[in-house]
């Protein structure tokens, strides 16, 4: 401790006398909600790396509510003029915080570390406010996955589906064999997670961008959207009636235990299979959602950085931003978390098979234009619009509203939420 002080005093003296910018030791206070086992281990890695560089890490973990609680705390800290150094905020909300004028400019680090080259442009754009980096991406989750129990498919004599017609056929066979075809969790975000995968499958990437990113009323009420709602409705008959309110991991457990044939969920579901001691390719299969193999719905977690008055804190903040995107942290963190690195060109070796496939698809879709932000996971639209879409989708799924009416309502509700 004392040596740190001496070092920082010396560093400060050097800075003053030589007029050269030398890194001073500082503190980062990081607000996040990565508190569960694997996630907490992942965060600890970053903490260690920072402490090795002489900075101190002040943990500001707020558990619960998928980040809602943390956001409420962050809001009150920001209103009081005392925001933390960094906070786990993602997607378009970065722009909303940018509008408040409280975010730090990370252009220096970004240029030195060549962020523009190591990040896909779609992802980099999300991290920028008015052309300047204000946030650092940490990891990438893919949303449009299908998790399959091959044993159930074999018993039912069904083929693993690639297209919608094949899905209907397989689901019918599985049901006839006495299993639940689709393990489903009836919570609004899960319904919308499935729905957005359907939308990109039906309409393609351009349509998805119009409807779910730009929230264009014409696209939202189009016949393509009606077709997407029809498909969502047809999934319902392949689910069990206890689905409403079920947590996603309980639905995954149904696939693991062989009660259900498949689940549509992002790649965090892999953690459940791993924890149950299952081997990918043998005990379970991870495949793209039917008809979406050339698309990649991404969910990127990121930290926004707040303006700091103190030089030490600024240096610590820059160090944190730099370390997050370095290969070492990217690898360790993402293996722990079950996601894939956001940094391109990483070694594939240490990752498991589904992650490797995800990494190849990430690169391929970034080039082809099939890489699009997930609406359900706060990457595409402002929370108020996302909320409006959630309301219509969940209301449609849980009532006997017609698909045409749902599409019309979708356009109307999104307009009202603006």
């Amino acid at each position: 401790m004392r040596r740190n002080v001496v070092v920082s005093v010396l560093a400060l003296a050097l800075t003053v006398f030589m007029g050269v910018s030398v890194a001073a030791a500082g503190e980062v206070e990081v607000l996040h909600w990565w508190t569960s086992g694997g996630e907490a281990r992942s965060v600890a890695v970053l903490k260690d790396l920072l402490e090795k560089e002489g900075h101190t890490w002040k943990d500001f973990a707020v558990a619960g509510g998928g980040g809602d609680t943390a956001m409420t705390v962050l809001r009150s800290r920001a209103v009081a003029g005392n925001p933390p150094t960094a906070a786990q905020v993602k997607g378009p909300q970065i722009q909303q915080w940018g509008d408040e004028g409280v975010l730090a400019d990370l252009s220096g680090v970004a240029k030195a570390e060549k962020w523009d080259e190591i990040l896909p442009k779609v992802v980099a754009d999300v991290m920028k406010y008015k052309g300047k980096y204000v946030a650092v991406p940490v990891n990438v989750h893919r949303i449009n996955w299908m998790w399959v129990n091959p044993e159930v498919f074999r018993k039912a004599g069904a083929k693993v589906p690639n297209t919608w017609a094949e899905f209907e056929e397989a689901a019918g066979k599985i049901r006839a064999a006495g299993f639940i075809p689709v393990a489903f969790g009836g919570q609004d975000w899960q319904e919308s997670t499935v729905f957005e995968s359907i939308v990109i499958g039906v309409g393609g990437a351009d349509f998805y961008r119009k409807a779910m990113v730009q929230a264009d009323p014409a696209a939202l009420s189009s016949p393509t959207m009606v077709k997407a709602f029809e498909r969502l409705r047809s999934i319902k008959k392949y689910t069990d009636k206890n689905a409403p309110g079920r947590d996603w991991n309980l639905a995954t457990a149904m696939v693991i235990k062989g009660e259900a044939g498949m689940q549509f969920m992002g790649d965090w579901a892999k953690g459940e299979f791993t924890a149950a001691g299952k081997t990918p390719g043998v005990d379970y299969l991870a495949l793209p959602f039917p008809e979406t193999s050339e698309y990649f719905l991404f969910n990127v977690d990121s930290f926004i950085m707040f303006k700091q008055k103190d030089k030490g804190a600024r240096d610590a903040q820059d160090a944190m931003a730099r370390l997050i995107l370095q290969p070492k942290f990217q690898e360790v963190f993402n293996i722990n978390k079950g996601s894939i690195p956001v940094r391109l060109g990483m070694a594939r070796g240490p990752f498991d098979e589904p992650a490797q496939r995800s990494m190849s698809d990430f690169v391929a879709t970034a080039a082809s234009g099939g890489l699009v932000p997930s609406m359900a996971h706060e990457m595409a639209v402002f929370p108020e619009i996302r909320g409006a879409i959630f309301d219509v989708v969940t209301n449609f799924y849980n009532s006997d509203m017609s698909p045409a009416e749902a599409a019309k309502k979708l356009a109307a509700e999104v307009k009202a939420a603006r």
Partner: protein, 302 residues
Amino acid sequence: MPLRARGTGVGLADRLQAYLPRIVLSPTIAAAAVFIYGFILWTIWISMTNSGLLPRYELAGFVQYVKLFASDRWWVASRNLAVFGGLFVTFCIIFGLLLAILLDQRIRVEGALRTLYLYPMALSFIVTGTAWRWILNPGLGLERLVRQAGLESFTFDWLVNSKMSIYTVVIAGVWQSTGFVMALFLAGLRSIDDAVIRAAQVDGASLPRIYARIIVPTMRPVFFSAVIILTHIAIKSFDLVMVLTGGGPGYSSDLPATFMYTFAFTRNRLGFGAASAVMMFMAVMAIIIPYLYSELRVRRDG
């Protein structure tokens, strides 16, 4: 008196004594002024602005209210509150009164039974909600139990049925609060003069008739308190719904309180959430003001 005899010190001590209640009360009053009344005014102000992620203070008129009244979900929440509030209050009073009357029959182990019925009140709504979620889950609780007992066609799926889910909230709420209402009525029953009842018995009135004509009508003030307390429990209900149904399936069991939380805190629509909070406040006021009015009038008469 002895203080007064001690000359100069007397004035100070006396004055202190006179001011003491005010000094002791002032922190509470200040806290109430800021944290209750101040924030009520703040919320009303915010509800008239375009606040999104963070509060903004430029007034924008009634836009948020216009949006609120055009929102399907708000009307679902309001209708649910009417259904839930109405049934919750009615059933709590019916069951509470019934239990109180039965307990009032000078039975043995009354103390133990009373505690037993009152016990749910000691639980938090979170616990009640979790327990009932398991009981009412078709694949886990009641339905499965009855089916395993041999009645294969038995169906009780209100929890996962969007048309019936709000009634499951009523069931859990009534279970939780009936004991409390029973205690209120029991106290009321005990305060009735035995002489009145004996006089009625001498006149040859049957027991049900005595209850219907004499005892229940004299408990009007107890009914009144029970209704007021239950209504405000109903309006501010949040945790029970959150845990029991999560507002679902869809948003079919949303209540205004859960609606407000969703919009203000998870969807960055502070102004819109504030508008719905103000509407809830108005609903509470519509009940509290007549109550206060009658209370204060009675005091003046006395």
